[in-house]
């Protein structure tokens, strides 16, 4: 007997738990979704801040390190430095001891019969590997000392590509571009689809029929038709690519929103609002839109990976963003071409893309379960 009214003790506010809060709680209990969300946040941060923090700009070319394999060790490796330094030291015609590599510096004890000429450092600096060569701990008779030079050692955790660019920096920028295109294209599909679908559903009747017929016709056109044409029309720019993808992906959204609107329009709470004389706009704003949001949010989470894949496909076809800018799709198609000699070119971008798509899919599933609990 829950129907017996509670005596009013004080007319304070007992806060309720809205459906959104309920969904949020359910989502937080879904471990796969939570992990996915964290992975996405981490990858998004890598996309945003990675290029700034990275040791190498994504478009910097290192001609000496073309297709360097992924490695935790710095380039050039110690094994490469010693012989090179040896060769340079030989040219100075002084007696050299054992060469020692220590981080960014190389040192070797030297000695000579004559006083050491400090200008011998030029021989070292002449090599493109070493700079800032100097003589330290010169003995008072200037016959022995230590020859020290700096080496520019860089690390390529993901290796370098065929042009000698750091794959990690390029993957970061690729994440940034792919996520941005995915999000922006989905937002565009969202705005177009929700407006179109809600309008068709709310107006109903003949207008609805015609509007949905248009959608049907657009469905029959090959989906990359617009994309390719737009890209062909206006060239390969970032903005254009997400617009093009958004333009092809709004059709499903329009259908979903229309279906939702039609259902909600028949709900009694909408009729109750009409009976109270609430205006059409008020009904749309207060009743229809908030109640379509659930399925729309779920659909958007599944739309983002779709848009990212579509962008990758365009890149694969050579219609993606312009070099030296890159996206995960471009990196992957690049990697696929160099798969046999340089597998790291494929592995890192492909793993990143898969992680993003996997996380988005699990998050979408989790959101659907959270927002529509009877579907379990």
């Amino acid at each position: 007997m829950t129907d017996i009214p509670v005596p009013d003790s004080d007319i304070s506010n007992i806060a309720g738990r809205s459906l959104w809060q309920d969904a949020w709680l359910r989502l937080r209990r879904n471990r796969a979704a939570v992990v996915s969300a964290m992975v996405l946040v981490a990858l998004a941060l890598a996309g945003i801040f990675g290029p700034m923090l990275s040791q190498h700009p994504y478009d910097r070319i290192y001609p000496q390190y073309v297709r360097a394999p992924a490695s935790l060790e710095a380039y050039p490796r110690a094994d490469d430095i010693v012989p090179a330094f040896e060769r340079a030291v030989t040219r100075t015609r002084v007696e050299a001891g054992e060469i020692e590599v220590d981080g960014q510096t190389v040192r070797v004890p030297i000695s000579s019969d004559e006083p050491i000429d400090p200008r011998i450092t030029r021989y070292i600096d002449r090599s493109d590997l070493f700079f800032n060569a100097r003589i330290e701990a010169l003995s008072a008779d200037e016959l022995s000392g230590e020859l020290v030079a700096s080496v520019n050692r860089v690390k390529f955790y993901f290796g370098t590509d065929a042009n000698g660019r750091d794959v990690m920096a390029r993957t970061f920028i690729g994440i940034r571009i792919s996520l941005a295109i995915g999000l922006l294209a989905s937002m565009m599909a969202l705005v177009l689809g929700v407006t179109y679908g809600a309008l068709a559903g709310y107006l109903g009747g003949r207008v609805d029929n015609v509007m949905m017929r248009v959608v049907d016709i657009l469905y029959s056109l090959p989906f990359i038709f617009f994309v390719i044409l737009l890209v062909v029309f206006f060239g390969r720019s970032f903005v254009l690519i997400f617009i093009a993808i958004g333009m092809t992906e709004w059709l499903d959204m329009a259908r979903i929103v229309r279906g939702q609107t039609l259902t909600i329009k028949r709900q009694e709470y909408v009729e109750a609002a009409q009976a109270m004389g609430v205006s059409s706009w008020g009904i749309l704003r207060r009743h229809v839109i908030p109640n379509t949001l659930g399925p729309v949010i779920v659909f958007v989470t599944l739309l983002v990976p779709k848009a990212i894949l579509l962008e990758s496909l365009l890149s694969f076809l050579g219609l993606g963003v312009q070099e030296p800018l890159t996206s995960l799709g471009m990196l992957i198609s690049d990697g696929a071409a160099n798969m046999r000699g340089a597998p790291w070119l494929l592995i890192f971008p492909a793993a990143t893309l898969t992680a993003i798509l996997f996380a988005l899919n699990f998050l979408g599933d989790g959101l659907r379960d959270a927002l529509d609990p009877k579907d379990r």
Binding site: Y219, I332, A336, F358
Partner: protein, 307 residues
């Protein structure tokens, strides 16, 4: 039913007409032309070529010329593949794409539906988690990753299968491209079937079947799965159209002479007739398969009736 089919086919004509019109003017308004080369051709030669292909006429005249030829089943000559008409190209390419896509579709349907139903019947067991996890992976790995990996591993490293080529459609040549095409579809169909089966198993009429002590193979096979297959059928319409008209990725990577590459190549090379032909073929496949799906639906679900 026959009347309905005829009416639907008649109704498709204006749709195709609208699509042809949109596509024609869009591709024509794109900058560039089929004979733009790095080094511009001699203006005189250019003029001759343009005249030969009717490109010198006003656009609306070309449009009507095209419609006239189309009505007679003539899609015009290809601009980039000299000596071939677009119809010739489809005559050789379409069977290849259909064979490839059809095989992939059949495999995807059988395997996907089986896995999905299995996962649903073993819901929340390791079988279910395996299927769902693998299916999600299958959806997320792009075909242009799967294709080269398969080709490299089975073709180049193991040498078990040809790494590419068509070989007249012999089965060895089919395996890898079919697998590439089928894998993501298996994943999607498995997920769809799983969801629909779980829902069907919870429905009241399945409860009735269980309450009447019917053996579980009847409860599942007769009552649950038939209801569960309906959403899969509606998914198959557009998918079948897409698979049978070829995949640009798979055909490019495996070097298969299907029609999947024509659209992209045609659009980039401004091969107007080839692009138009591809658009028309794809649109017709979409319309045809939507019709087939609707008919199948009526066969499977007696509540759906077309008078």
């Amino acid at each position: 039913m026959l009347g309905y089919v005829l009416r639907r086919l008649a109704g498709a004509i204006p749709t195709v007409f609208i699509i042809v019109t949109i596509a024609f003017f869009m591709i024509r308004l794109a900058p560039g032309g089929p004979f733009d080369l790095e080094r511009p051709l001699d203006p005189l030669i250019m003029e001759n070529i343009n005249r030969a292909y009717n490109l010198d006429k006003p656009l609306w005249q070309q449009y009507f010329l095209y419609l006239g030829n189309l009505a007679q089943g003539d899609l015009g000559p290809s601009f980039t593949r000299r000596d071939f008409s677009v119809v010739d190209l489809f005559r050789t390419g379409l069977p290849v794409s259909i064979q490839l896509g059809g095989t992939a579709l059949a495999i995807a349907l059988v395997v996907g539906a089986f896995l999905g139903a299995l996962a649903a019947l073993r819901q929340n067991t390791w079988v279910d988690y395996m299927v769902v996890g693998t299916a999600t992976l299958g959806i997320t790995i792009p075909t242009f990753v799967i294709a080269p990996v398969l080709s490299l591993f089975f073709g180049v490293m193991m040498g078990w299968l040809p790494a590419g080529g068509w070989g007249g459609g012999r089965w060895q040549y089919l395996v890898l491209p079919v697998a590439t095409l089928a894998l993501p579809q298996i994943a999607i169909i498995a997920r769809l079937t799983r969801g629909a089966t779980i829902e069907a198993l919870r429905s009241n009429h399945v409860r009735t079947a269980r309450a009447y002590g019917l053996p579980s193979y009847v409860v599942v096979g007769v009552h649950a799965l038939r209801a569960a297959i309906l959403p899969v059928v509606s998914y198959l319409g557009p998918t079948a159209a897409a698979l049978l008209t070829g995949s640009v990725v798979v055909e490019t990577i495996f070097g298969i002479p299907g029609i999947g590459r024509y659209f992209v190549q045609g659009a980039l090379g401004r091969d107007y007739t080839l692009v138009m032909g591809t658009v028309i073929v794809i649109a017709m496949f979409v319309i045809l398969f939507n019709l087939i799906v609707d008919i199948l639906y009526a066969v499977l679900d007696p509540r759906v009736r077309y008078d």
